[in-house]
């Protein structure tokens, strides 16, 4: 082989990285066949490259820390809709916090402790969020199902770290109107709101079960509404409405079956 045909290292790397055309690749292969030292180095680089590609691979499957997704949601955008949304989130956080503090204070003297207390606090927050937001006419939801259901689902799924497809309750006469993000003790919770032809409203509330134990279906009454809830780690779920237990129970079953369907 003549001097002009000498293949230098940058070409060997380009070959390894698939940056060469067919003809150039063939020239490199011929060179390597005749130069075992270079072939050994290329093999070593290839081993290196494969090892590098495996570094930290497990991180790709982790749910990113919440502060990161929060940075994407909370940062300012010129759009006025978002400004209003973040302002409303702040207001919601305040209201729920006050409600939560009251519940905590009340529980303090009630003898309930630990996980059981936190379970009650969970239901109380879900009910509190229901009461606060179902009263709203224009701003009941932050993202509307009729205009941006895909965005709504994607957004809340991302914040909660799981696929959150709001169930269809059309069969029971309740239509999904939208949802919002709610601040729950410093963590995100998702609220989906439904309405029937008589303008009765239902909410589904989901958050991470950070500090509570699993519980099967329960019904609780608080803040003038009824809650059907269950906790199945890593999530806690509540369906809230102002209705008879039997009806709530029936709807609760629908919601449970849907949310527990195999993850998509």
């Amino acid at each position: 082989m003549s001097i002009e045909d000498r293949i230098d290292d940058t070409e060997l790397h380009a070959y390894l990285d698939g940056e060469l055309g067919e003809e150039e690749s063939r020239a490199v292969e011929a060179w390597l066949a005749a130069h075992p030292d270079d072939a050994a180095r290329v093999a070593a680089w290839r081993g290196q490259k494969n090892a590098l590609a495996g570094l930290g691979e497990e991180i790709l499957d982790e749910t990113p820390p919440e502060r990161m997704t929060r940075a994407l949601d909370a940062a300012p955008l010129p759009a006025t809709r978002r400004d209003r949304a973040s302002w409303m989130r702040a207001a919601a956080a305040l209201v729920v916090f006050v409600a939560g503090a009251a519940a905590g204070w009340w529980l303090h003297g009630s003898g309930l402790t630990g996980a059981a207390t936190r379970e009650v606090v969970f239901v109380d927050r879900a009910a509190g969020a229901h009461v606060v937001f179902t009263r709203e006419r224009r701003h009941a939801v932050e993202a509307r199902a009729d205009k941006e259901e895909r965005h709504l689902v994607r957004w809340l799924s991302r914040r909660l770290g799981r696929n959150l497809n709001p169930p269809s309750l059309d069969g029971a006469g309740f239509r999904l109107i939208g949802g919002r993000l709610v601040a729950d003790d410093g963590g995100p919770a998702a609220q989906f709101m439904y309405q029937d032809s008589e303008k009765r409203r239902l909410t589904i509330y989901v958050r991470r079960a950070r500090d509570v134990k699993n519980v099967a279906f329960r019904i609780a009454e608080t803040r003038g509404v009824s809650a059907f809830y269950w906790i199945e780690k890593p999530y806690a779920y509540a369906l809230i409405g102002k209705m008879e237990r039997q009806e709530l129970l029936k709807l609760g079953r629908l919601v449970f079956d849907h949310l527990n369907a195999p993850a998509r």
Partner: protein, 170 residues
């Protein structure tokens, strides 16, 4: 689908890359956080239709280099990468990961410029052209840095035997 949704989809890759760079979960996530905040503050500068991943990596790379420059200024006596090395926590050895540990250790010995090229192409699988865009240098520079960086890695891993020490670590 909004730009922010697209950015959110890139978070896992950014985290992985930052971790490989810094070998410290907290430091890596801080870097990603800074990167996201910077990206959001400049989202109006992103041109739709161009490569979002490359854009984000550019931001992260620049933040990383700035942090190193600052750290070096503070330890001005040492012209190498002490500041970075210290943040590279050594994780416990796990059988078949010994090779990776050597590799990680060897990576720390590369210059920041070589590291960036070797990792963008090796870990992220960027093309030379994309890497040149991220690092804002000509493709020729990418090629020569890559060649030098990889060869240095190979020598480090062939030469000394970091295993003798590693083997004793529980």
């Amino acid at each position: 689908m909004s730009l922010r949704d697209d950015i959110a989809d890139e978070i896992p890759r950014l985290r992985r890359y930052a971790w490989v760079l810094l070998r410290d979960t907290t430091a890596a996530d801080d870097l990603v956080q800074d990167c996201l905040e910077r990206a959001i503050s400049r989202e109006h500068l992103f041109q739709p239709g161009t490569n979002l991943r490359a854009w984000l990596f550019t931001i992260m790379h620049n933040l990383h280099v700035n942090a190193i420059t600052r750290a070096r200024r503070m330890v001005s006596a040492d012209p190498t990468h002490e500041a970075v090395d210290e943040r590279r926590a050594v994780s416990p050895a796990q059988g078949d990961r010994l090779l990776l540990r050597d590799l990680e250790r060897a990576l720390a010995a590369l210059s920041v410029e070589q590291q960036a090229v070797v990792l963008l192409i090796g870990v992220e699988g960027l093309t030379y052209k994309e890497a040149a865009g991220v690092l804002d240098v000509p493709i020729g520079t990418i090629m020569s840095r890559l060649a030098r960086g990889r060869e240095k890695l190979r020598r480090l891993m062939d030469g000394e035997d970091p295993e003798s020490k590693t083997g004793k670590t529980p």
